[in-house]
């Protein structure tokens, strides 16, 4: 009665083919990339050392390390997130805890979505027009950080909202019922229960702010700046700075005769830093998700 008919056999064959085709599609997006990263590391190997991190560029950036660019990137990331994280979290609190479903708030949602889709080079034009010229910050770390802050803002809003929305409504109702106001509820119940998700979202933006090039290229990043080796505070906020992403672009397109492994090492460093930060966020998220009690 359950003998395998030709029809069933054909069906099973199609199933196997489909499965392997889809597997191949998934694999073909990942495997070449792993190979490419391996190749980058191999080419970068002669330059990869601790000295590369803490040395300053030498002989017209043809050799040496990346210290000034590394410090500049840290400046930009810290400053931009110092602006976008509080604003983004509070905006998400408004959207998730206060806003009613009316046309005005739908427009805010639309604005968040579109802000996330604005091309990075348009952010650069905005930063140039608004911060460098109109606000008279000039080409400076401030202008570049603010431009980056506006670029990371919508993603922080979205991830924070998701974290806030995952707190069950019953938690809030319990708190309201003992007479707490809206803000007291947010402070005592909603934020403590979603802080892990909020932090994960912010950490993920660290890597994004560190990797972006176009928005800082015309607002505050500079090709080269003389910095002492090992100087932790080489920049002032109204000055321009170097940045890793910009440094990689400069080395690979603008400087002739660079020692071959130097741009590769810069790329590997940038890639490694970004993957490290993201992996940390992903592990943190997994750990906290496993501990969640509801």
């Amino acid at each position: 009665m359950f003998a395998i008919t030709p029809h069933v056999r054909r069906k099973q064959r199609h199933e196997t083919i489909a499965k392997w085709v889809f597997f191949g599609m998934a694999a073909s997006m990942i495997v070449p990339l792993v190979l490419i990263i391996g190749y980058l590391v191999e080419r970068a190997w002669p330059s990869l050392s601790l000295g590369f991190l803490i040395d300053v560029p030498a002989r017209g950036m043809k050799e040496g390390g990346v210290w000034p660019a590394l410090v500049g990137t840290i400046y930009l990331v810290v400053l931009s997130l110092a602006v976008s994280a509080p604003v983004g979290v509070l905006a998400a609190v408004y959207l998730n805890e206060y806003a009613r479903d009316n046309w005005f708030n739908r427009i805010i949602n639309l604005a968040v979505i579109n802000l996330a889709g604005v091309p990075s080079i348009v952010h650069a034009l905005f930063g140039l027009g608004a911060f460098v010229y109109a606000a008279r910050f000039g080409y400076s770390i401030i202008s570049a950080s603010l431009t980056l802050a506006i670029m990371t803002l919508p993603v922080i809003i979205a991830s924070t909202r998701e974290a806030l929305a995952s707190v069950p409504r019953t938690f809030r109702e319990a708190c309201w019922n003992v007479g707490a106001t809206r803000w007291q509820t947010i402070k005592a119940v909603v934020l403590p229960n979603s802080i892990s998700g909020i932090l994960t979202g912010i950490i993920l933006q660290v890597s994004r702010a560190a990797g972006e090039t176009a928005p800082i290229m015309f607002t505050g990043a500079v090709f080269f700046k003389a910095v002492q080796k090992g100087d932790f505070f080489p920049y002032r906020l109204h000055e321009q700075c170097m940045a890793l992403s910009m440094h990689l672009y400069t080395l690979s397109t603008q400087v002739p005769g660079v020692k071959e492994s130097v741009p590769f090492a810069t790329a590997v460093l940038l890639l490694g830093a970004v993957i490290l930060v993201n992996a940390t966020a992903i592990i943190l998220r997994g750990y906290l998700r496993a501990r969640k009690k509801w």
């Binding site: 069906k11 199609h14 199933e15 499965k19 085709v21 889809f22 599609m25 998934a26 073909s28 997006m29 990942i30 070449p32 990339l33 490419i36 980058l40 983004g88 509070l90 905006a91 609190v93 408004y94 959207l95 206060y98 806003a99 805010i108 604005a111 968040v112 979505i113 802000l115 996330a116 889709g117 604005v118 091309p119 990075s120 080079i121 348009v122 650069a124 034009l125 905005f126 140039l128 027009g129 608004a130 506006i150 803002l153 007479g179 106001t181 809206r182 803000w183 994004r208 560190a210 990797g211 090039t213 176009a214 290229m217 992403s245 910009m246 690979s252 397109t253 890639l271 993957i275 992903i282």
Partner: protein, 315 residues
């Protein structure tokens, strides 16, 4: 805050407590809520701000008698620094943007959706989690690193295997852009498939359908709007991408005739020339006008994706 004595009746103690809440506490809470509201509307302010400032810098060129908007949009002659015969036509760049994005989508859409189907329907448990994490890490690779990969690795491969005279061309940019848009297509596509109710799957399997039959006859039709949104967001990313295409597509301003031609995209054009254009010159203003064009393009694409997603939710 002082706790009311327990001997009082419940109703009275509530009233007392409310009355004794210090004024500064109430006021600071009010102030904080106003701050929260201001942050909430900041997204609108920034979107309008971006449009305002970019448009403001571009505006004077529209009133200039040497400049015509039709020429800007439909002429392929771009000689911004010529002494005698300045021409500001970005049609070649529009063609560049569309050819690179179209090639990228031709590669990324089937592979991205295929990967999304594999992750969502054909694997489970640890494999699924691992694949999702890898896709997430892929999405984090900075665009300048992609550009560097295009410039060094991909261009060498293209020259070696196709015999093209230069390795930085539409093919290179298209492949790089495809690899960059796959993560977003996979994650949104997977969300769309996840949103199909399990009862659909159960009904299909109960009728004896294989997974493949289920995907083809049930899931794809049910999730098609979500998958469309995934594709649209991929297009939005492709049109707006700057550094990777700047480094990987070469720098020729002309209308391409094949995938081995070098092109320049709208975004790359701004990135390449903004540094050289003196502030407030015509050249500078035309670059800002290109920014307005890009802003409008991505706005439309993202709006369309949002409407599509909203359509699903309503249903």
């Amino acid at each position: 805050m002082n706790t009311p004595p327990t001997s009082r009746p419940a109703e009275e103690s509530f009233a007392v407590r409310k009355a004794t809440r210090p004024a500064w506490d109430v006021l600071s809470e009010r102030a904080l809520e106003i701050l929260i509201y201001l942050c909430g509307i900041s997204a609108i302010v920034f979107v309008l701000g971006i449009f305002f400032f970019v448009f403001k810098e571009a505006l004077p060129i529209l009133g200039n008698s040497h400049f015509s908007l039709t020429q800007f949009l439909f002429s392929d002659q771009w000689y911004p620094t010529s002494e005698l015969n300045k021409r500001y036509g970005v049609f070649a760049m529009i063609a560049g943007t569309f050819s690179v994005t179209a090639l990228a989508m031709l590669i990324a859409v089937p592979f991205g959706l295929g990967a999304a189907i594999y992750i969502s329907e054909f694997c489970s448990g640890r494999t699924k989690e691992t694949l999702k994490v890898v896709i997430e890490l892929l999405a984090a690779i900075p665009s300048v690193v992609w550009g560097f990969i295009g410039l060094t690795v991909m261009s060498r491969l293209i020259v070696n295997y196709t015999g093209a005279p230069v390795g930085v061309n539409i093919l290179n940019g298209g492949i790089i852009l495809a690899l960059m848009s796959v993560p977003i297509i996979v994650s949104i596509g997977e969300d769309a498939l996840k949103a199909v109710p399990d009862s659909y799957r159960e009904a299909g399997l109960a009728l004896g359908a294989t997974r493949w039959q289920l995907v083809r006859r049930v899931l794809l039709p049910a999730a098609k709007t979500g998958l469309l949104a995934a594709v649209l967001l991929g297009v939005g990313r492709g049109v707006g991408e700057t550094m990777a295409v700047l480094m990987a597509t070469g720098h020729a301003v002309h209308i391409p005739h094949g995938i081995f031609d070098s092109v320049r995209t709208l975004t790359a054009n701004i990135a390449a020339e903004l540094g050289e254009a003196p502030a407030n010159s015509d050249h500078y203003r035309v670059l800002f006008l290109t920014g307005v064009l890009l802003f409008a393009l991505t706005f439309i694409v993202n709006l369309a994706a949002d409407l599509v997603v909203r359509g699903i939710r309503r249903r």
